[in-house]
């Protein structure tokens, strides 16, 4: 055992045991769940193989509605990826103590969502065999190339960020599970631990690297979602031709990403029995963030639609009447009330700010945000630019299968990770307890933030 583990003054053995349990014990439910995900992913691959063979004709897209659910998914996943690292970095920078159990799976969410986000445009391409053209012929003027540059940058940054704060835990795993684990796992742990021994010099170096990463990952995250919005914002199309699209998308991403964190937190808490560490207080903190982002998003929505509905340029007029009262009205209002107003209300009203209702709110928020992305992408495309007929778009089976597969892939990445590494950062928790013990030694009567939490784990 390394120093960092053994020297912790208040090491609760129970925590260690609980958080390590998924790594050593795998139940039947897990296998069923993983198998289900694998089946979905395989179905997606099958659909994709058909798409490669027959071309995009297997989708519901046409010359008018040229983008569909693939691009909606792309925007959605980039949104999910936004909040995890962002929240983790902000909370680390501000030294908020309640971050400790949240950082690991926040960062993981970012990596998983971003992987799916990076795949979606490739799925949408008519000629995936020419993907390498982007590298050889790439032009910096194209908003798509901005994405091609910024998304891998953000993915790399997120991986490094996840990896950096995984090093001490990997060392712990190497030492604790090393002798019993299978050979690949042993290699993985010892590689990921990069000879970490918890010495003062190593801690300083890690802290320096980590701080630098926190500083640069926030603007990268903002840039990522901005360039996603500019794919739309750089066109002349009504509904897309908007100057506030970048911040609008960034705030929407924070909103849906925070909601996804709440959903995932509940799942981990429930299935890995982490009630003692992922407490109601954590839900409430995240709910507060969700309310803030949700209200900002409502504000942006209002600003965006007020400006175009006030002037009512002819094409905006057509678009708005279809969005609000026409063929997209059901989707738009469902997305608006079900995905924005209701979740924000549930999370904001103290009486409804309970764990089950917050989970409902977070799921609603993400369903709503997916719909919102769909109603950004599709109606603007189906709007005729000249007196044509309205474009019609209905996703086909292939598109639905690939969409489901992308969600399954997102879940699969998270699932596999939880079997390899603890989902709560062990060393950060221990560091918290150590600081707490120190503080208590100096001021015995001051309660720590963790102690305030009902069901908290402080001794």
């Amino acid at each position: 055992m390394t120093d960092i583990v053994t020297t912790s003054a208040n090491e609760p053995a129970a925590f260690n045991e609980r958080v390590m349990a998924p790594l050593t014990h795998t139940g039947r439910a897990f296998w069923i769940w993983t198998a289900a995900l694998l089946v979905l992913v395989a179905a997606g691959f099958g659909a994709y193989a058909k798409q490669v063979h027959d071309g995009l004709a297997v989708t519901g897209m046409s010359d008018t509605v040229i983008w569909g659910v693939y691009i909606s998914n792309f925007v959605f996943f980039s949104g999910l990826s936004m909040a995890g690292t962002f929240i983790s970095a902000i909370l680390r920078m501000t030294g908020a103590d309640w971050r400790r159990p949240l950082t690991r799976f926040s960062e993981l969410t970012t990596v998983a969502a971003l992987t799916m986000c990076a795949i979606m445009p490739a799925v949408d391409m008519g000629r995936p065999d020419r993907l390498w053209h982007l590298i050889v012929y790439g032009r910096l003027e194209s908003p798509l190339v901005w994405d091609i540059i910024v998304i891998p940058t953000y993915l790399t940054a997120s991986l490094i960020y996840l990896f950096l704060f995984l090093i001490p835990d990997s060392a712990m795993l190497r030492d604790r599970l090393g002798p019993t684990a299978s050979r690949p796992k042993r290699v993985l742990y010892s590689l990921a631990a990069v000879r970490w021994n918890g010495s003062e010099g190593q801690r300083k170096r890690l802290e320096r690297a980590g701080t630098l990463m926190m500083v640069i990952i926030i603007p990268i995250g903002v840039a990522t979602h901005s360039v996603v919005s500019w794919i739309f914002g750089m066109t002349y199309r009504s509904g897309w031709d908007s100057t506030i699209f970048a911040p609008y998308f960034v705030v929407g991403a924070l909103y849906s990403g925070t909601a996804m964190l709440i959903t995932l937190m509940y799942i981990f808490r429930r299935f890995y029995k982490l009630e003692a560490y992922l407490t109601e207080q954590h839900f409430k903190y995240l709910a507060t963030l969700m309310v803030v982002f949700g209200i900002m998003y409502l504000y942006f929505t209002f600003a965006e639609y007020l400006t175009i509905s006030y002037k009512l340029e002819s094409s905006d007029n057509f678009l708005l009447s279809e969005l609000f009262f026409g063929r997209y009205a059901v989707l738009v209002w469902t997305g608006f009330f079900g995905g924005q107003v209701l979740p924000v209300a549930l999370a904001a009203i103290p009486r409804t700010r309970t764990i089950p209702l917050l989970v409902v709110a977070s799921v609603l928020a993400n369903v709503g945000m997916w719909i919102k992305r769909f109603t950004i992408v599709v109606p603007s495309l189906s709007l005729p630019l000249l007196p044509y007929k309205w474009g019609v778009y209905t996703p086909t089976a292939a598109e639905i299968l690939i969409t489901l597969a992308s969600f399954a892939g997102f879940a699969l990445i998270i699932t596999i990770f939880t079997k390899l590494f603890p989902i709560i950062s062990v060393w950060e928790m221990e560091e918290g307890w150590a600081e707490e013990a120190e503080a208590e030694a100096e001021h015995p009567h001051r309660p720590s933030p963790l102690q305030q939490q009902p069901g908290g784990v402080a001794p």
Binding site: V150, R195, A209
Partner: protein, 299 residues
């Protein structure tokens, strides 16, 4: 930059007064003199309002200002079909004459063309030309002779063409339309392309601003389609090659496009900086894996 190279193409009226042609004209004219008709412009309209001639007759249609109620009134009479336009008549200049040969049969309208006091009642003048008449009058020749302009340098600039149109009788022909055409070949088509029209003034002078658009020499044809007693005539001049008229494709003509270079540089610097930072962080990780010099506490 609008420097106008003013090129005067002097279309001197080369008139040999005693020519065979004019003798012929004079001969026919003397054989049957022009029909002289006078129409009074009174307060109640044209008097007479209907005029009748035979086809082929030489006609002199005189309008006489004879108003009492509107002493300040003035008129310009136009005759449709023959494209004729009279001089202005008023209290001082009371008379104007349209001279023409009634080559076309049918019913034509003459009317006042300016906003005079009795405009509405001066719209109904009728000229009837009876078909099959044997007036026997022939058109007077008109001629355009052109000086060569070989030494003129034109570089994509606008040039001003000055042309004087005169009849064989030595009289300048005013209020006549000259058509300027260029022989052109394009996309499998060959033909004369109208590049402009101009109306002659009182001295028979017409002016056209024209910008040659060909790099090779082009042949310009100036055409007079006949007016009144004057017959059709045509002349041509060779213009030297010019510079291209049109714009080459230049999407970068907007100064804002100049920002693009800097935007690229900034973008590259920012993204490059980020990746350098990644490298630095990974370097720190790599340093972690080096055994510390002072010996670690690693078991």
């Amino acid at each position: 930059m609008t420097t106008f190279a003013r090129v005067r193409i002097v279309l001197a009226a080369v008139l040999v007064a005693v020519s065979l042609g004019s003798l012929v004209v004079a001969g026919t004219a003397s054989a049957e003199d022009a029909v002289k008709i006078t129409v009074k412009v009174t307060d109640s309209g044209f008097e007479p309002s209907t005029v009748e001639v035979n086809q082929g007759q030489s006609v002199e249609l005189t309008f006489l200002w004879a108003q009492t109620a509107h002493p300040g009134d003035e008129h310009i009479i136009v005759l449709d079909g023959y494209k004729l336009e009279s001089e202005k008549i008023d209290r001082v200049h009371t008379s104007t004459t349209l001279k023409f040969i009634a080559t076309k049969s049918g019913t034509f309208n003459f009317a006042c063309d300016i906003e005079c006091d009795i405009h509405a009642i001066l719209q109904g003048g009728v000229l009837k030309v009876k078909a099959g008449g044997s007036g026997g009058a022939t058109l007077t020749q008109s001629k355009i002779a052109i000086d060569p302009v070989a030494d003129v340098k034109v570089k994509g600039d606008v040039i001003t063409l000055l042309a004087t149109l005169t009849g064989a009788d030595g009289q300048p022909i005013p209020k006549a339309e000259l058509m300027f055409l260029v022989e052109q070949q394009f996309a499998g088509q060959t033909g004369l392309m109208v590049v402009g029209t101009a109306e002659t003034g009182p001295a028979g002078l017409a002016q056209l601003s024209y910008r040659p658009s060909r790099t090779d020499a082009e042949k310009m044809v100036i055409r007079f389609e006949g007016l009144g007693v004057y017959d059709v005539s045509e002349a041509s001049v060779d213009l030297p090659g010019s510079q291209a008229f049109g714009t080459a494709l230049a999407p970068g003509d907007n100064t804002l496009h100049g920002i693009k270079t800097w935007a690229h540089l900034g973008f590259i610097l920012v993204i490059g900086g980020v990746w350098v930072a990644f490298g630095f962080i990974l370097f720190q990780v790599w340093k972690l894996s080096r055994p510390p010099s002072g010996g670690g506490a690693r078991p």
